[in-house]
């Protein structure tokens, strides 16, 4: 015996399907990323979904600068007017050409070379830890500076500018389309082969880990991109990208910070720099120094 579904039920089913088709991907997607998730049972969801709890890459610990690039601009104080590679405009060059560390010292501006746009370039150590569930803190021994990376929200307006400004942090990165991502084969023999098959790991399925920490800093006091007075203004914006990984050869943990400084006042175009840090066991080498206008750190 045949039975037909009532038309109304079919229509309702279609409507329901349509609604689901719209709602489920979004809801499931948000669920997959942890939004709105609640633990089983009646216990209230604690801080489980805070930036601290869901951090995909642990950046905490002690890190030491390894200066392999631009050594002569970082390990010594470059000469006045040595602004090679920095895309300074004419106004910026004028400021750099007038650099006077004695005046900076006398004016209480010795921290100009330790502001957010430059501090990662200053050789030294970092101590990175969570100040609270929403704030990642970076202490530097060079210049004894503190940076606070605020997750969520935006920079409040009307605050007085500071050397380190106001930093808004987020985990960013786009995972690859795994249908086309592919995967490399093993290294056979050679120095790398002896230490394991680099590139032979399992193919990323879903690539669930966002790639990097993005930090945008504004509201900074005017400072120096280099210790020799190469300037950035209070209109500058700093974008930073923090990537942590393990060196496949030595198994050392590395933190690479790419810094993009945009400054409509002194730069012709954004200035891009990189800083490399190696993880160290603890703070035993911590060597706090005050801001110094005429020292490399």
């Amino acid at each position: 015996m045949k039975m037909r579904c009532p038309i109304s039920l079919v229509r309702a089913g279609r409507t329901f399907t349509f609604t689901l088709a719209l709602a489920l991907p979004g809801a499931a997607c948000l669920s997959a990323q942890g939004f709105g998730a609640r633990p089983q049972g009646d216990a209230p969801a604690p801080a489980a979904r805070t930036p601290r709890a869901v951090t995909p890459k642990d950046l905490t610990g002690y890190w030491e600068s390894i200066v392999t690039e631009y050594w002569r601009y970082r390990m010594i104080v470059p000469d006045k007017s040595d602004y090679v590679i920095v895309p300074l405009n004419a106004e910026g060059r004028k400021i750099a050409d007038a650099w006077d560390p004695a005046k900076d010292k006398a004016d209480g501006n010795e921290c100009k070379g330790y502001g957010a746009a430059a501090i990662m370039q200053v050789p030294g150590r970092l101590h990175i830890y969570w100040q609270d569930d929403n704030t990642l803190r970076i202490d530097t021994d060079s210049g004894t500076q503190t940076r606070l990376l605020h997750f969520g929200g935006s920079a409040p307006q009307g605050q007085a500018p500071t050397w380190q400004g106001y930093s808004v942090a987020s985990w960013d990165g786009i995972r690859p389309d795994t249908q086309r991502a592919g995967g490399g084969g093993p290294v056979v023999g050679g120095a790398a082969g002896a230490q394991g098959a680099i590139g032979s790991g399992p193919r990323q399925v879903g690539g669930a880990v966002p790639g990097y920490l993005k930090v945008v800093t504004t509201q900074m006091r005017p400072g120096y991109l280099r210790k020799n007075g190469v300037p950035y203004s209070d209109r500058a914006t700093v974008e930073e990208y923090f990537d942590r990984f393990v060196d496949p050869y030595s198994n050392e943990n590395w933190l690479v910070v790419t810094t993009v400084v945009t400054d409509p006042q002194y730069l012709l175009e954004p200035s891009i720099t990189h800083a490399h840090f190696k993880k160290i066991a603890d703070g035993s080498g911590w060597d706090p120094t005050p801001c110094r206008a005429d020292e490399a750190r």
């Binding site: 039975m3 037909r4 079919v10 399907t17 689901l20 088709a21 991907p25 997607c29 990323q33 030491e64 390894i66 200066v67 392999t68 690039e69 631009y70 050594w71 002569r72 390990m75 010594i76 470059p78 000469d79 090679v84 590679i85 150590r125 990165g173 786009i174 690859p176 389309d177 795994t178 249908q179 086309r180 991502a181 592919g182 995967g183 490399g184 084969g185 290294v187 056979v188 120095a191 790398a192 082969g193 680099i198 590139g199 193919r203 879903g206 690539g207 880990v209 966002p210 790639g211 990097y212 990537d243 060196d247 496949p248 050869y249 590395w254 954004p270 891009i272 990189h274 060597d287 750190r297």
Partner: protein, 296 residues
């Protein structure tokens, strides 16, 4: 009482659709990291001078090789059009870069990425093929395989020919392996190179370069033609410095007020504490301050 086949299929199709939607969360909001296109360099080569091995963890044999290098070696007929190893080839200005990929027509998987720059051209195989055996031919472009780690393309290169880490003679051997991490940060592309050369480095050497997306960029032709022997360098000679005889080795240190020992590199020189040590080291009288005009 039962359903018609049509009704059953409709209901089964409905639940299949629901399950399908549940099974595909998250994917639709993510796009592929697209590395392809034209990229304009923003970190040019370091403008290093002869005798500038700063920040390079050279060992003693590596330093001796570097000190023996003579700038005119690049003018020998056999070297004029010699390519750089792939990584320094990406750093030598103008390292305009074009990245493309090739799809497997059957699977639509990415078979390889093709990186093409003025001084460098190589492919990164993404199809899971193994690296060739040690005895296979070595090339300036090496042999690279890659995989994705999150949004980072990681590739490993070996089978390199002997070359240089810098254009000022710091050497790289055919035993070297390079692991490269490629990240796209919006319209900024960065590559972190981790160079492992057990012959001339005491530890892996890490450095980085950046490019900015520039779809209007046009990479010029490569107009390199070898000059006949004897037209630039006297025929039959290979310019070089014998050990201890390099009379321009300390020029860099002299110009910048750096202790000569520090300018010769080594792992120790890369650490912040070395700044303190340099204060106790001897520097040479500075006889020129024209250094800021010099760029490689």
């Amino acid at each position: 009482m039962g359903l018609t086949n049509t009704g059953r299929w409709k209901i089964q199709g409905f639940w299949f659709g629901v399950l399908l939607l549940l099974a595909l969360p998250g994917r639709s909001l993510w796009a592929q990291v697209d590395l392809t296109g034209e990229w304009s360099p923003r970190i040019y080569n370091d403008g290093r001078d002869v005798g500038d091995y700063t920040g390079i963890p050279l060992n003693e044999p590596g330093r001796l090789r570097a000190e023996a290098w003579h700038p005119e070696q690049f003018d020998l007929p056999e070297n004029i059009c010699r390519p750089h190893a792939f990584d320094i080839g990406l750093r030598v200005a103008p390292a305009q870069l074009y990245i493309s990929n090739e799809l497997d027509s059957a699977t639509q998987l990415i078979l390889d990425y093709h990186f093409h720059a003025y001084w460098s051209d190589f492919r990164i195989w993404m199809d899971g093929r193994p690296h060739p055996p040690d005895y296979a031919a070595h090339k300036f472009s090496g042999f690279s395989t890659g995989h994705w780690e999150g949004s980072t393309l990681v590739f490993t290169t070996d089978h390199l020919k002997e070359g240089f880490i810098t254009r000022t003679g710091a050497p790289l051997t055919e035993k070297a392996t390079v692991t490269t991490r490629v990240n796209r940060y919006g319209n900024v592309l960065t590559m972190v190179f981790i160079i492992n050369d057990p012959a001339y480095l005491t530890e892996p050497y890490i450095r980085e370069s950046s490019w900015v997306y520039d779809p209007q960029q046009v990479i010029p032709a490569f107009p390199c033609e070898p000059s006949p022997e004897g037209t630039i360098i006297p025929a039959g000679s290979v310019p070089n410095y014998l050990p201890g005889k390099n009379d321009i080795l300390t020029d860099f240190a002299k110009e910048y007020g750096i202790p000569p020992e520090a300018a010769l590199g080594g792992a120790e020189t890369t650490h912040p504490d070395y700044i303190k040590k340099m204060k106790t080291m001897k520097t040479l009288p500075r006889t020129t301050t024209t250094h800021f005009q010099r760029q490689g």
